[in-house]
């Protein structure tokens, strides 16, 4: 049964999608296997391609305006707080959408994108494409506008600045396919 035992691989060995130096919290998503590349190329990526549409660009401004109006309507919310909340809501939403959720919600390529978040799926990972420039410009612009309208209150400024950096840094080309690992998770994976 020698062939048998050699064919018994480990789930982790097969599934290990990240390469990590010991004790480093930074890791990179492994390059796709040939099977995954074939599956990725089988069909256009419906999950990432819609961001190129005009409507998908305009909706960012619509959503921001909507958020601003919503917070203005809440009683007791000052202009400063309203702008800060708008900025933070937009940032949290776009972080979840572009950088937190991985894979594709629809089933058409056998989970070939399961390890990549949406930002990495856009334009097949190409950098400095028009859509990516737009998507990076929006949070920076929103930050500058919201700090202006918060009248440079230091607390609000710090909040807005951190929020902005949280979505700008993951969009940088140097963050491509990079993952940060929370230390608890690290220790548990090291055990196995």
């Amino acid at each position: 049964m020698s062939t048998y035992s050699s064919a018994v691989g480990s789930v982790v060995a097969n599934k290990e999608e990240r390469r990590r130096r010991s004790s480093s919290i930074i890791s990179h998503v492994q390059p796709e296997t040939i099977e995954e590349q074939i599956d990725q190329a089988a069909l256009p990526n419906l999950n990432a391609n819609w961001v190129h549409n005009k409507g998908a660009w305009i909706i960012h401004f619509v959503l921001i305006a909507g958020l601003k109006i919503f917070y203005d309507l809440l009683p007791g919310v000052s202009q400063e707080l309203s702008w800060t909340l708008t900025n933070i809501s937009y940032v949290v939403g776009s972080y979840i959408m572009f950088h937190y959720v991985t894979g594709i919600p629809f089933e058409f390529n056998g989970g070939a994108y399961d390890n990549l978040n949406m930002w990495e799926q856009i334009d097949d990972g190409d950098q400095y494409t028009p859509t990516k420039k737009f998507l990076l410009g929006v949070p920076i612009g929103l930050f500058l506008v919201s700090t202006h309208y918060t009248h440079y209150d230091l607390g609000m400024f710090v909040l807005n600045c951190i929020a902005c950096l949280c979505v700008v840094i993951p969009k940088l080309p140097s963050s491509h396919r990079m993952r940060l690992t929370v230390p608890e998770v690290l220790s548990s994976t090291r055990e196995s």
């Binding site: 789930v11 056998g110 990972g125 950098q127 500058l144 400024f157 491509h176």
Partner: protein
């Protein structure tokens, strides 16, 4: 130029720029913005300015691709040259000697198949090489109904079930099979091989976990490969090994997102003939929270007191098995395959199983034949005790042979016979297939048609041991079966005895 002149020049330039700037539309807004944002806080202003500069730099950067371009662009001349150089290989390569012998040895039957067949050579033989175990092939009623169905529905539907291919006969066959096996719902596929290899990928995807028996037949293995799920094999029918694998997997997936997990096994193993240890598998899959996919092509309509397969054989409720798939091309003498499971799982397959969605539906008369076969199995359960008695009678005789042993279950009418390892050693048999083929030829010469187990080793995941394959049938009575067994036993003795013992 003196310093003074330079300063005057700079001053005037700045002045002219600022006057130009104020003329620009919107410049006052920018000035107001800059003035109000400075607010005696240079550090923050610098930070904002840096961010702005960074954004500008990002916008001006030119696009680049992260994927390596791993192809060469050829000129038209180079393409023409390559096309001219190319000589096509033959679509069908010339056969080597071994495959030629294989083809030459295939016996040709004249007329209809059945338990007794007439060969092209003029001889007649008892047929133990067909999956016609209940001899429904010779049933006149089934034949007549098939003809009537052809008159009513034609020979085929030429469309997938979702596209004009789903007819009343298919609906009835699904109902009949589900009722026969005591499961909530059934779905029928157009091809037996494609059934399990569509069912597995319909449920398991990349990232899901499949724990499968290492001796599963090739259709199961192909299904697992197509699904792209992570597969772990356990030693054939070794329940300790299954538990070890499940334990290891559960440790490895701890803390990871939950994925679908399946245990996959065959009911009666096509290449061995033994029966899976269903009660233990059910216990383990419940303990480790897996679902069970059971491939019962050779057990439904074959084993169990009334032919309901492995579940009945062990006295287990079939609904405890999550998904059962099987073939209608074996004892049901029709064609295609079926899958029985819960209503939800069947509905899921109707839009997700590749073999169902993209294949033309089963011809109506085959669906009708399957319905009729199931009806006969239901009304004549004595067929199965006859089949079992025949199988045991055959085994009784063949077990006395000093040259072969059978790894198959005593209750299995699908009997594999392998040369004993000490025979292989003492007689230095290298080409086992050749010896087995000689035995098959010898049997045929004496009026019994059996076959070698045929497979493509290069396509298999694990090595398969060569064997003779005998399928006992109720079409032959006990006396005839015993006679056939004696012929097979004698043929084995004759062929093996001819091979000289190696000198030590």
């Amino acid at each position: 130029m003196s310093l003074h002149d330079t300063l005057i020049y700079i001053n005037s330039t700045v002045e002219s720029i600022s006057s130009q700037f104020t003329r620009l539309p919107g410049s006052s807004i920018i000035l107001r913005y800059v003035r109000s944002s400075y607010q005696n806080d240079p550090a923050r202003s610098v930070l904002e300015f840096c961010l702005f500069l960074f954004a500008v730099r990002y916008f001006l950067a030119s696009k680049y691709s992260v994927t390596k371009k791993d192809f060469v662009r050829l000129t038209d001349g180079e393409i023409d040259e390559l096309v001219d150089e190319w000589t096509p290989e033959p679509l069908v390569p010339a056969m080597d000697e071994a495959s030629q012998t294989d083809v030459d040895k295939i016996p040709v039957i004249v007329g209809a198949t059945g338990p007794k067949v007439k060969l092209a050579t003029g001889k007649s033989a008892m047929n133990l090489a067909s999956a016609n175990m209940l001899n429904l092939v010779s049933n006149e009623q089934i034949k007549q109904d098939a003809i009537n169905t052809v008159h009513e529905y034609g020979v085929g539907v030429c469309g997938p079930p979702g596209f004009y291919g789903y007819q009343r006969v298919h609906i009835n066959a699904e109902k009949d099979i589900a009722a026969f096996l005591g499961m909530p719902a059934a779905i029928i596929y157009a091809q037996a091989f494609n059934t399990i290899s569509s069912v597995i990928p319909a449920f398991a995807k990349r990232g899901d976990i499949i724990v499968a028996d290492a001796a599963c037949n090739i259709a199961v293995c192909k299904g697992i490969t197509i699904s792209r799920a992570t597969v772990r094999w356990y030693e054939h029918n070794n329940m300790e090994d299954l538990e070890r694998v499940l334990e290891r997997v559960s440790k490895e997936v701890k803390g990871r997102p939950l994925t679908r997990r399946f245990v996959v096994s065959e009911g009666l193993f096509e290449n061995i003939g033994d029966i899976c240890n269903l009660p233990k598998i059910l216990e383990l899959k419940d303990k480790y929270k897996y679902r069970l996919i059971l491939e019962e092509s050779f057990s439904v309509g074959v084993i169990g007191k009334t032919g309901r397969g492995v579940a009945e054989y062990y006295g287990v409720d079939a609904t405890e098995i999550d998904i059962i798939s099987g073939s209608m091309a074996n004892t049901m003498v029709a064609g295609g395959g079926f899958c029985v499971s819960s209503e939800y799982a069947v509905k899921h397959q109707r839009i997700n199983a590749l073999g169902y969605v993209f294949s033309a539906a089963l011809p109506g008369y085959l669906a009708k034949t399957a319905s009729n076969a199931v009806a006969i199995m239901t009304t004549s359960p004595e067929l199965f005790s006859q089949l079992n008695a025949n199988a045991r009678a055959f085994r009784e005789i063949i077990s006395k042979s000093q040259y072969v042993y059978s790894p198959s279950d005593p209750d299995s009418p699908l009997i594999h016979l392998r040369l004993k390892s000490e025979i292989l050693e003492t007689r230095k048999i290298d080409d086992e297939d050749h010896v087995l083929q000689d035995i098959v030829d010898e049997c045929l010469y004496n009026g019994v048609l059996i076959t070698r187990n045929k497979y493509v080793q290069s396509a298999e995941n694990f090595p398969i041991l060569p064997s003779l394959k005998v399928q006992v049938t109720t079409g032959l009575n006990k006396k005839e079966t015993e006679k056939a067994a004696l012929v097979v036993k004698a043929a084995i003795s004759k062929v093996v005895a001819k091979i000289p013992k190696a000198k030590h």
